[in-house]
C-alpha cells in the first residue's frame, strides 16, 4: 500500500441497544480497490452511511488525505471528495439521465440566484461546461445514447451506471460503491467489472461493498471483513478466503 487516502479510526455506531459498528478502523491506500464484505447485517452499509455523512458516528473519526472529515454533513463529505452510490438505486427518477449527472456537478459549480436570473456570461459558460461534462461522463459509463431519457425508464444495469456517472460528476478522490452488482446478471456484472477496473486505472480509489464473491476476489487489492459490527479480518483476497474466522462468520462454527 502506497500513500494513505482514507483512514477511519475507531468508528462506533449504535442504534438504540443494537451495536451496528464497534471500533472499526481501516485505511485505504490511494489507487486501491478496497473491498468491504460480511454477512447480511454485519454493518457494511452502516459504515458507508457514517463515512458519507448520512449517519453521525457515536465515536471515531475519519481523515481523507490527512484532513479530518466533518461527519454528519453529507454535502461537506462530498465536497471533500467522497462520492457514493446506493444499494437500492437512488436516482432522480423524473429527471433525464443528463440532468441526473448535471445535479452531480453541484459542488463543482457556483451559480446562484442572481447569476441564474441574469444569465450572466459566467453562468452561461458554467452551464455549458456542466452539460459538456455530463455528456462526457455518460459516454464514459457507456449510456450517452440515452442522455435524454428519464432515469426511471432506463434498464436496471444502465441505472446503476448512471448512478456511478452522477457520483463521478462530483470529481471524487474516493468512490464508494454499495453493492453495485446487486440484481445484475452475469454479462452485466462482467461489464461492471470492466468499468470499475477502468475507473481505477483512471486514478480513482474505490471502496466496494459487494456480495458477489467472485467480483470482490477478482477486483479488490485488499478486503476487510465485518461481522456483527466488528472488523474480523483485513488482508488480500486470497488470505481472507483462507482465514478461519471469516469462514466461521460465513458458514457458522465447526460442528461439535
Amino acid at each position: 500500500m502506497s500513500e494513505v487516502l482514507l483512514a477511519a479510526n475507531g468508528i462506533s455506531k449504535n442504534f438504540g441497544g443494537v451495536r451496528a459498528l464497534a471500533n472499526v478502523s481501516l485505511t485505504i491506500g490511494k489507487g486501491e480497490i478496497y473491498g468491504l464484505i460480511g454477512p447480511n447485517g454485519a454493518g457494511k452499509t452502516t459504515f458507508f452511511n457514517v463515512l458519507t455523512g448520512l449517519y453521525t458516528a457515536d465515536a471515531g473519526s475519519v481523515t481523507l488525505s490527512g484532513r479530518a472529515l466533518n461527519l454528519g454533513q453529507p454535502h461537506e463529505v462530498v465536497r471533500a471528495g467522497i462520492a457514493r452510490t446506493f444499494q437500492n438505486i437512488r436516482l432522480f427518477a423524473n429527471m433525464t439521465a443528463l440532468e441526473n449527472v448535471m445535479v452531480g456537478r453541484h459542488t463543482k459549480s457556483r451559480a446562484g440566484v442572481w447569476g441564474a436570473v441574469t444569465a450572466s456570461r459566467a453562468t452561461r459558460a458554467e452551464e455549458a461546461a456542466i452539460v459538456a461534462r455530463a455528456h462526457t461522463l455518460l459516454k464514459y459509463v457507456g449510456i450517452d445514447a440515452r442522455a435524454n431519457d428519464l432515469a426511471r425508464n432506463l434498464p436496471y444495469g444502465d441505472q446503476r451506471r448512471l448512478e456511478i456517472a452522477r457520483a463521478l460528476a462530483t470529481e471524487p478522490g474516493l468512490l464508494a460503491l454499495d453493492e453495485p452488482a446487486a440484481g445484475m446478471n452475469a454479462s452485466e456484472t462482467a461489464a461492471l467489472r470492466e468499468l470499475i477496473a477502468g475507473l481505477r486505472s483512471d486514478g480513482i480509489t474505490i471502496l466496494l461493498i459487494e456480495h458477489d464473491v467472485k467480483l470482490v476476489m477478482g477486483l479488490c487489492d485488499r478486503v476487510a471483513v465485518l461481522d456483527y459490527g466488528e472488523k474480523i479480518a483485513e488482508a488480500t483476497p486470497e488470505a481472507v478466503q483462507r482465514d478461519p474466522r471469516v469462514i466461521e462468520a460465513y458458514l457458522g462454527g465447526p460442528v461439535e
Binding site: 458519507t52 455523512g53 448520512l54 453529507p74 454535502h75 462530498v78 465536497r79 462520492a83 457514493r84 446506493f86 437512488r90 436516482l91 432522480f92 427518477a93 423524473n94 429527471m95 440532468e99 448535471m102 445535479v103 452531480g104 456537478r105 453541484h106 459542488t107 459549480s109 457556483r110 451559480a111 446562484g112 440566484v113 447569476g115 441564474a116 436570473v117 441574469t118 444569465a119 453562468t123 458554467e126 452551464e127 456542466i130 428519464l150 426511471r152 452522477r166 457520483a167 460528476a169 462530483t170
Partner: protein, 364 residues
Amino acid sequence: MKPLANLLPHPLPPAAAYGGAALAALALAAVPFVLGMNFGNSWVRIVDFALLYAMLALGLNIVVGFAGLLDLGYIAFYAVGAYLYALLASPQFGLHWPLWAILPLGATCAAAFGVLLGAPTLRLRGDYLAIVTLGFGEIIRIFLNNLNAPVNITNGPQGIANIDSMSVAGHALEKPLVVFGFPIPSLYLFYYLFLALAVLTMFICIRLEDSRIGRAWVAIREDEIAAKACGINTRNIKLLAFAMGASFGGVAGGLFAGFQQFVSPESFGLLESIMVLCMVVLGGMGHIPGVVLGALLLAILPEALRYAARPAQMWLFGRMLLDPEALRMLLFGGALIAVMLFRPAGLWPSAVRRREFAASGNGT
C-alpha cells in the same frame, strides 16, 4: 427579447421570435380595452386580481412544484407584504413611503418570514410539513388580528384603511392617465403594472428552473438523500426555496394593499392559501405556463360563474332557483373534481410530469 423566445418550446428564428413577442405584447396590452369596452370595468378589476394570483401561484410553485415542499400557509407571506405596505404608506403611522421603496422591502421581509417558517420545518416532509405550515399561516393571521393592543400596530380586525395608492413615475395610479387627450382609466393602469410584475416573476421563475439552483430544488423533490449525496446542502437550498417563494408573495401582497387601499386580516385566511395551492396543482405543478393558466382560470372562472348564473337560470327556468353565490361554489367544486379525475397531472402539465402520471396509471 431573448427571454421571451426562451418561453417557447422550440427555438424560433429571431425574426419570428421578435414578431411573436410583439404580437403577444400587443394582445396583452389590448386586454383591458377589449374587456372594459365590451363587459365593463368590473372585469378589468377581476383580471387585475387574476394577475396578482398568478404572481402568488408562481411563488408557491417554487416551494411546492419545484422543491416538493407542501406549504399550506403560503398566504401568510402575501399578508406580510400587504401589511408592510399598509403600515408604511397610510395614515396609520403617518408614513408615506413610495412604491419603489416598499416593494423590495416587502420582498425582503417576506423572504425573512419564509426562512423563519422554513428553518424549524427542515426535517419535515409531506403531511407533517403541511400541518406546520398551516399553523404558521394561521399564526400570522391571528397576530394581525390581535396586534391592536397593548400597542396598536395593525388596527386589529378593523384593518387599515385609507392606504396610499401606488404611484409610478410620479403618477398616482388611482387617477386616470391622459395620453394625447385620451384618458386611460385607473384600473387599466393597475393592469399594466401588475402585468409587468407578473411577467417579471414568470421570467425569474423560468430562469431559475433551468439553472443549478432549480436542478437542486427538483433533486430534493425527487430524492432528498440522493440530493445530499450529490453534495447539495439541502438545508440552504430548501431555505432558499422558501425565501424565493415568499418574496414573490410579499411583492404581490404590497400590490394588493396599494390596489385595494384597504387591508384586514380577513383577506388572508386558510381558504386563500388553499385557493393558491389549487391554482398550482390544477394548472400543473412545477410547470410555469400551467401554473399561470391555473391561476388565471381559478381567479376568473368563479367570477364568470357569478355573472352567468342569473341569466342562465332565467333562460332555463324563467326564474331564479338558486342563489348565484351558492351555485358558484358548487360549480367551482365540481370543476375541481372533474379536472383531478380526468387530468390528474393538471390542465397543462410539463411533458415530464405527464409521462410520470401516464406511467403510474399503467401500474408501473
